[in-house]
């Protein structure tokens, strides 16, 4: 069975909510919609305090090239545009909306019927994806329309769909593939048309046999779509790792996947594209997994963007008593939250509640030079060197050791028997090297 060549780890899967169907979460009384929800520049609000908004109405426009539109996830009144704490723990600009009823924009098709026929042209698809604020739902939230615009001189050959969900605990994509298979396929077809490619491959890890079977069945009706079962290995969901696993092509350092003729989209994104293009529905809700070993009722919830994470936890049976850490995202790459009163954004794939004991890091001891971190690094880096250089503030060496190639998957830190904070220092190194490079290009 296929997988990527270099490195990788296999943490305990702990997929506790696999058999829980996607449940629609009740609309909250108030939503807080942050203005920076995708990679790139924050969006610019187009509504004012006191304005009445409907579900799906454009409330903030992405004006920069890498930036995305944001739509209201509820109907009601704009309470204020003010700073609110987001998942980083810092206060950033956000739109507060008080909910009144659930009135949708008229042009959104709310029927459940499957619309197979794609009437839009290539250019229309790209502009639709841009207009309706679709971003990559795998976690990085890269604006999807940018990925659909293939740079001149390059040619996309294969579209790869990321249904790997290699992070332990998370099951949102898994449930989506099981429940919305047909819609997903149409979404893939739309992406294929937008990219002008003839072949698409859905990569799914071998621990989701039901999803593989289900999608293989449906794929018979759709030309050019293949389903590829992959060996379970973290971080297979990384763009470069997935391309390596599926196509056996290696993306050169510092280059984009288009260099080897591939474009990677998440299955969640494909579903959002289906809804946007066929049903005219902007991206304002997503599937979020709420899970943890102590959680009473772990599950997958369809939730409106801007809903407080607290409501999600309440729905899953409340905050367990000995919760030590709340993580947004998966356990490997997710980020610990400062507070539960922060909103769900487009990139929130899961909420993870760790027990006090699981949450504690071990005290780091000295490096024993075992080289495990080097063995598991999927990018072929030497995490131990990078971390040491960063700790000693030798930024030139950090750069020379290709720190910017690091995908921050955390395999090194996960596998380190001495419990050293490798990734933390690499992140610091990446940040500083990034600054240095930017300053250099200014001069």
């Amino acid at each position: 069975m296929k997988t990527f060549k270099i490195g990788g780890v296999h943490p305990p899967e702990n997929k506790l909510s696999t058999d829980r169907p996607i449940e629609v979460l009740a609309i909250p009384a108030q939503v807080i919609i942050p203005l920076s929800q995708s990679l790139g520049a924050p969006s610019v609000p187009v509504v004012n305090k006191g304005d009445a908004v409907k579900v799906g109405q454009l409330i903030a426009k992405g004006e920069a090239f890498i930036s995305s539109n944001i739509h209201s996830s509820v109907s009601g009144k704009v309470l204020k545009i003010d700073e609110a704490m987001d998942q980083s723990g810092y206060r950033r600009q956000a739109i507060f909306i008080t909910v009144e009823g659930d009135e949708w924009m008229e042009d959104i098709d709310r029927s459940a019927e499957l619309k197979k026929e794609i009437t839009l042209t290539k250019e229309e698809i790209v502009s639709k994806v841009k207009e309706l604020g679709i971003v990559g739902l795998g976690g990085a939230t890269f604006p999807s329309h940018v990925k659909l615009m293939v740079p001149t001189g390059k040619k996309a050959e294969v579209l790869i769909l990321n249904g790997v969900e290699c992070e332990p605990y998370l099951t949102a994509d898994h449930r989506l593939m099981l429940e919305k298979g047909e819609e997903l396929m149409v979404g893939i077809k739309i992406l294929m048309k937008g990219l002008d490619v003839k072949r698409a491959v859905i990569g799914i890890e071998n621990n989701k046999l039901d999803a593989i079977g289900h999608l293989k069945n449906i794929a018979k009706d759709f030309d050019g779509i293949e389903v590829e079962a992959l060996k379970v290995q973290y971080p297979q969901g990384g763009e470069k790792q997935l391309i390596d696993a599926v196509l056996r092509r290696q993306v050169p350092s510092g280059k984009l996947p288009i260099e080897v003729g591939a474009v990677v989209h998440n299955v969640g994104t494909a579903f959002a594209v289906y809804e946007a293009v066929q049903k005219n529905k902007p991206l304002f809700e997503r599937v979020v997994t709420v899970t943890g070993k102590n959680v009473k009722n772990p599950g997958n919830f369809m939730v409106r963007v801007g809903t407080s994470i607290n409501e999600l936890i309440e729905k899953a049976g409340g905050l367990p008593e000995d919760t030590g850490k709340i993580v947004s995202g998966g356990p490997m790459m997710g980020k610990a939250l400062n507070s539960v009163d922060v909103p769900v954004v487009k990139g929130t794939s899961g909420i993870l509640l760790f027990k006090e004991k699981e949450a504690r890091r071990v005290d780091p001891t000295n490096c024993i030079r075992c080289g495990k971190c080097i063995t598991v690094c999927p990018m072929g880096l030497e995490p131990v060197l990078l971390a040491q250089y960063a700790e000693l503030e030798m930024w030139e060496n950090v750069e020379a050791e290709r720190a910017l190639d690091c995908i921050e998957c955390g395999s090194c830190q996960y596998t380190c028997p001495a419990g050293r904070p490798l990734l933390d220092y690499i992140r610091l190194g990446k940040f500083r090297v990034g600054q240095i490079i930017r300053n250099r290009s200014k001069k």
Partner: protein
């Protein structure tokens, strides 16, 4: 036997003499002409090589000084923070000009978010580096402007002039601070500022950097500047400016009248090294940062 010694001495003597002649001509040919004043100036500098002047070490600074004098007959804008006016006067004497007097400066910590004033809301267990903690989140107290307490400033100090107070969790600047500015650069939150030492070492400053609205700032820290502008209104010398919900006292304009200290509702304005006030003796018992002073025995009890 004697022959061997004689030949060896003669031979080596000739080789040595020939080499000396060659070396003499090479040295003449590739002579580096350097202003002897550079060496003299370097001798007068403290040789701490701290970089506080903005040049790479004391040698670099002496070169810059001599160059500046040769070019524009002044050393305006160049000064050694470590040596202060004494050293600069010596340097000026060597260079044959008159140095301008500069007010001595010291670093001040503009945060009072001690463990008591800004209690922990979350636990940070990552590497003990402020630079990393700052990138990761808003900090344990939730104040995105406050001190993170990991001690990057202590690590940066080459003069052992700053240390972390175990009780408050905040850095404290000692009197031997030379204002080289290394800690100012090291702090990712720009909490440390170089201010004039002031008359008799007396200083007044706003010990807060929080630009959030009053209510939010107060939620995280009981001694935050809430931007109420009371000090701004009471200051008779227009030394205080208000910017983004934060007061700032200009040390050039401040006449140390201490009116703002009394006016501040949260106690964010600190006075240092003043004699106790007559009317309110109780409050100013210990005149060094009264707001964060904690009884050491007490805090030890709570730790246990």
């Amino acid at each position: 036997m004697n022959d061997i010694i004689i030949y060896a001495v003669i031979f080596l003597g000739v080789v040595g003499a020939a080499s000396a002649v060659i070396l003499y001509f090479i040295a003449q040919k590739f002579k580096v002409i350097e202003d002897p004043k550079i060496d003299e100036v370097e001798g007068a500098l403290p040789a701490a090589n701290c970089g506080g002047c903005g040049f790479p070490g004391c040698r670099g600074f002496s070169e810059a000084l001599v160059k500046s004098v040769n070019e524009k007959q002044s050393i305006e804008g160049l000064s050694c923070p470590v040596g202060g006016n004494d050293v600069m006067a010596k340097v000026a004497a060597i260079l044959g000009i008159v140095a301008e007097e500069k007010e001595p400066q010291i670093a001040v910590i503009r945060c009072s978010g001690s463990k008591e004033n800004a209690p922990k809301k979350i636990n940070y267990d990552g590497p003990a580096t402020c630079a990393f903690a700052h990138n990761l989140s808003s900090g344990e107290s939730g104040c995105p402007y406050g001190c993170l307490g990991c001690g990057d400033c202590v690590a940066a100090c080459k003069f052992d002039a700053i240390y972390m107070d175990e009780v408050t969790g905040l850095p404290v600047v000692k009197d031997n601070c030379v204002a080289c500015g290394a800690c100012v650069i090291a702090c990712p939150r720009d909490i440390i500022e170089l201010r004039n030492k002031g008359k008799k070492d007396r200083r007044i400053f706003v010990s807060c950097m929080n630009e959030e609205k009053g209510g939010i700032a107060k939620k995280n820290c009981s001694v935050a500047c809430i931007g109420c502008s009371k000090c701004f209104k009471v200051c008779p010398f227009e030394a205080i400016t208000m910017n983004n919900n934060l007061a700032y006292i200009d040390y050039e304009k401040c006449k140390l009248c201490r009116k703002c200290v009394l006016e501040c509702p949260t106690g964010a304005i600190h006075e240092l090294n003043f004699p106790p006030r007559k009317e309110k003796v109780a409050e100013v018992e210990s005149n060094v940062e009264p707001k964060i002073e904690v009884n050491k025995d007490q805090s030890l009890d709570t730790k246990e």
